[in-house]
Symmetry: none
Subunit: 538 residues, 2 copies
Amino acid sequence: MSTIISVFDTTLRDGTQGEGISLSAEDKIKIALKLDTLGVHYIEGGNPGSNSKDIEFFQRVKQLKLQAKITAFGSTRRKGAIAESDANLNRIIESGVQAATLVGKAWDFHVHTALQTTLEENLAMIYDSFRYLSSKGMETIYDAEHFFDGYKNNSEYAIAALKKAEEAGAAWVVLCDTNGGTLPGEIHEIVSRVREQISTPIGIHTHNDCELAVANTLAAVQAGARQIQGTINGYGERCGNANLCSILPNLQLKLGYSCVTDDQLKLLTGTARYVSEIANVNMPVNQPYVGNAAFAHKGGIHVSAILKDSKTYEHIQPELVGNKQRVLVSELAGQSNLLFKAQELNLNLNMENTETRAMIDRIKELEHQGYQFEGADASLELMLREASGDLEEIFTLESFKLLVEKTKDRSVVSEAIVKVKVHGETVYTAAEGNGPVNALDNALRKALYQFYPQIDDMHLSDYKVRVINEKDATAAKVRVLIESTDFSNSWNTVGVSENVIEASWQALVDSIRYALIGKTRSPQSAEAPRERLGLVNH
Amino acid sequence: MSTIISVFDTTLRDGTQGEGISLSAEDKIKIALKLDTLGVHYIEGGNPGSNSKDIEFFQRVKQLKLQAKITAFGSTRRKGAIAESDANLNRIIESGVQAATLVGKAWDFHVHTALQTTLEENLAMIYDSFRYLSSKGMETIYDAEHFFDGYKNNSEYAIAALKKAEEAGAAWVVLCDTNGGTLPGEIHEIVSRVREQISTPIGIHTHNDCELAVANTLAAVQAGARQIQGTINGYGERCGNANLCSILPNLQLKLGYSCVTDDQLKLLTGTARYVSEIANVNMPVNQPYVGNAAFAHKGGIHVSAILKDSKTYEHIQPELVGNKQRVLVSELAGQSNLLFKAQELNLNLNMENTETRAMIDRIKELEHQGYQFEGADASLELMLREASGDLEEIFTLESFKLLVEKTKDRSVVSEAIVKVKVHGETVYTAAEGNGPVNALDNALRKALYQFYPQIDDMHLSDYKVRVINEKDATAAKVRVLIESTDFSNSWNTVGVSENVIEASWQALVDSIRYALIGKTRSPQSAEAPRERLGLVNH
């Protein structure tokens, strides 16, 4: 029976401290659902005392009845104040979470310099805050800020801070390397020493400023820490937090600890890519375990050895973390993956068929341009159905015109004129919108409504644009990702073009085609493929 | 006197195995010059046996008379052949380098599976190859491929391989974790054991597949390794090689080893960014030590502490590695961030002043609407200058019209007509583009060129769009982030509107205003604010 490590995810709180990362309440809900499926034990949702977005998240997440414990974050009470009347502590209680994490100083230098109070008052701030929240029946977690710097500077005081939280009922004391400057050897030694003096279970929270956050987390666990705090893709302030996408497989596949189930570990790559899409941050291709190049082989010698036995140049089987081998000099990998997807959809692709081959090549081309299965399952399904001849034509485009006008001090006006053929009939419509894509969407819906009134059930719920090759941005290829939802489902489509309108049109058309194909199938079979493709958000 | 560690850079050889990395001979020469200034001891230029590009590099680099030793890479002789008649070994000799690195198998499994020969023959291949090159007076380095996997599988054979190279005159035996699957504890233990059996100096070569390449290199050095092999920015196959940009400061600033001089270490950030430019790979903003966000502070509490003493949230002084502190303004931040920013720009914001307070409220309101100034330093600077009355007007918009047309089977056509007033003169221009924003950009440049010919120096280098409130995507507020660059700088601007074109226009206009305001100032003062804002790429 292997030791269980408690996984504490703070992507939604500490992760949002990363430069360029900003998540709406809706984004946070989506990510929380993925994290729960991945099997993390704690999801830190945010700081209810700091902004209203987080309060909305805590209200909405309650209804989801997740397996993971939702935790709220805050600081110990203000100096010279009373815990019971501390606004931020009361916000945490009002948020109705099962667990709360409070950060408190453990470094005497910080107490003097940043907090500008006495060592005694800081200990009282820790004690009062934990006693108050614990008295409300909450599970409380103490993030001992700058613990390692503090221990090196004044070990007695750092330990005293932990003991105060312990006395006041904290369920975990988490040792934080807040500035990310500590080395694995120091971490191992200090965690070992702390264990001799503290009986409360110990957690570890590291930052990547020395590119050692993962190593430091492993060192702490090997020294007896039993909770790991980190974020998906290592998002976080400055150089980021400890990257759970590397820590989980290292602990589970290499060191024999148990964090999530083996099946959940297979969701790691999908989760990492999904979160990077939601955060709209490009994932480095060379990211360990989950990156697109993590198991990609370029060198000719390597490739020939791989074909003999992939163990020759792969430290684990990519499938264990839901990733796959890529051989950059051959397309073998891509094709077998598509065949696998087709099987999932009960489509039989005949590779002898030229249309099929042409479609496969087009899919590979899109993939080559930056298209991602994780990002646009519905578009992939449509292309595969087309490839296998199993796709009805909803409509064909004759032409569209867009007019966008702005005059000084007046806001932009966007109008679209669309000419499409539906069931052999030519339909001509015009509409305006809040933007060109919205105008196109409105005009196209107008044209299709008389044939497919169900189109009213769906709407576009997210729209993202990203430049793929960044040579010359507004003249470069862009990728548009559109998420659509109806009452029960949500699905994602993609468009790629040098023209953002063309790319948006492709994604828009795919989104509508996918929805209406669904409608013409029987309800069950309409749900099925989406379920299998993991398109159902909730 | 601190222990000297020999730094072996393989950016030009193993680094080019990274996905999307391809260097011309000219690129390699440029990078070699930078590496020499940084003070690395060995520069591995490539594999003269594998391609002519590398042969050209070795011919040209000779004339540069660098301090660093130039080394060529190759494999041990072919099985069943004679070293003296091995084409690749002879290419290395012809390349005229002072030192050569030969990779040879140390894992019995690989000898059988990949090489498909006997254990004895592999040992002979090692011995013959090193004897031959050493006999030519070359310094020879043995890269023991898969050493750690080999040692764990058959330690006797792995050691025998090292001994063969040693007998044949190898100056270094480098233990390679080729698949990147080994953990720091194992590395430390195995290197220590090897030291007891091998008297030749030991080197370490790690890969980042477990996100542990840096930790593994440190562990090996602490166990007695005296040469570190790695690449700038950790470029390399799959997840990359050990990142010298993190290893050098860790060894030198944290562990007291001596790799380069303190002055050379200050060149680290510049070198890292220069190499990423030449390789045309975007550097992650959160890259440790050298990234643009490595010392960037976002949280309000952090910022107020930083203003009291940077040691509170920085593990080293950024200047020691040639980087600098940055403060990001965001909804998570307090007023102190804005004050800090204003100080950087030498604008005195008086909080008693009502205009100033109004401006701060406006920035907060804009952030509430979805503006994200942390990703748009230039837009923020423009606002702060406007607030303090220190902003000249470049032009005013009269009107623009955009026409986007698509007809069946023809790609989209985008045309823009722009009417602006510049220095009291009305200018009317039209242009087409790959997309509506590109067309607007082209038309606006046309209008401004006669007044500001310097506008040709700048171009948009990145373009991102995302929906902020996801109620109904194509009718929701969108945020456009634009990155622009000229020959030496890059800056970011933002626009927010329900209309993607309006938002793009705002960001586009800010980007051009920022660039041209710079031009009308004296060169020094034009650079200064960007430098202070951390917008300089290299």
